[in-house]
């Protein structure tokens, strides 16, 4: 291939523009997350004086940039450790424990069928999609029972 053609190639130019746009979008999104972390931390999410009690220092910029610095609010993925109808307690490898609330509109699926809440058992693995509720639980829209995932390395927790 003629090397000179690489420079003037439209495909290469389009690739550069697309990749650049993706980087730009992701960086802006990440900055938004960092700013959002500050706002949420300030308002109340981690609780008053939480960091004073447990770490005695404010979060560093590295902790804010770290992808595991904040608990995901729109979903959960992990093992059911307790069932208290209509609540599910899910243990996540990286995010600790989450409480998932269900209602009549929640779709619960195992394999190809839809199942009732009563068929869920502890030690089953689930993936939950939902919205954060005001009381710190996740209002489940979809609960999918999945096979146990392969062992994965735990993400470093922020101190």
């Amino acid at each position: 291939m003629d090397l000179k053609k690489i420079y003037s190639s439209k495909i290469v130019k389009v690739c550069v523009v697309v990749i650049g746009a993706m980087i730009y979008g992701l960086v802006i999104f990440k900055l938004g997350m960092v700013a959002g972390y500050d706002k949420a931390d300030f308002s109340h999410s981690l609780g008053e004086n939480y960091r004073d009690i447990f770490t005695n220092q404010p979060p560093s910029l590295g902790e804010k940039i770290n992808d595991n610095s904040f608990t995901d609010a729109n979903g959960a993925s992990g093992k059911i450790i307790k069932i208290n109808d209509p609540l599910l307690y899910i243990e996540e490898p990286n995010d600790g424990e989450k409480v998932v609330s269900t209602d009549q509109t929640t779709t619960i699926r195992m394999f190809r069928e839809q199942i009732p809440f009563s068929r869920l058992k502890t030690d089953e693995f689930v993936v939950v999609v939902g919205d954060p509720d005001g009381d710190g639980t996740i209002g489940a829209k979809l609960i999918r029972v999945v096979p146990p995932p392969p062992q994965r390395p735990a993400a470093p927790k922020t101190k």
């Binding site: 000179k4 992701l26 990440k30 609010a73 979809l142």
Partner: protein, 143 residues
């Protein structure tokens, strides 16, 4: 009557064109010298961009290794799989689903990979732009 040899020589020498260099030799030589002078910085650029291309290619490998590890730690693959297993529910609650995907995506790793690819593509483009300085036949062909 046979003419003396000296007269023949004299005629031949007088009638012969001088065996000089072609008239355009000097401008051609000067043009080539200037071309070489101009090619110096371009050659340096080519080597710098080539080295950066290799470095960015290596950084792509490292970035991909880091990203693979981060993806393995995250819940992103589990959420992504829902598109195939529960597409109807996912489309019904697409806002919640997209938020879940965005939250679990290891963005820093993805940015690193994309930045490495971006650098690689740009450096290889710049190296290709200056390749004529190292391979004159390409320069002349495209000039």
């Amino acid at each position: 009557m046979i003419k003396p040899m000296n007269d023949n020589w004299q005629k031949i020498i007088l009638s012969a064109k001088p065996a000089g260099a072609p008239q355009d030799l000097l401008p051609r030589v000067l043009a080539r010298v200037n071309e070489e002078k101009a090619a110096g910085p371009l050659r340096l650029k080519f080597f710098i961009y080539s080295a950066l291309t290799v470095l960015s290619a290596v950084s792509i490998v490292f970035a991909v290794i880091v990203a693979k590890s981060e993806f393995a730690k995250s819940d992103f693959p589990a959420f992504l799989a829902l598109v195939w297993t529960d597409s109807s529910v996912v489309f019904a609650y697409w806002k919640s689903y997209l938020a879940s995907l965005a939250e679990t995506l290891p963005i820093t790793s993805v940015i690193l990979v994309l930045a490495a690819v971006f650098a690689f593509v740009n450096f290889i483009r710049m190296a290709a732009k200056n390749v004529g300085a190292v391979h004159p036949h390409i320069r002349r062909k495209t000039a």
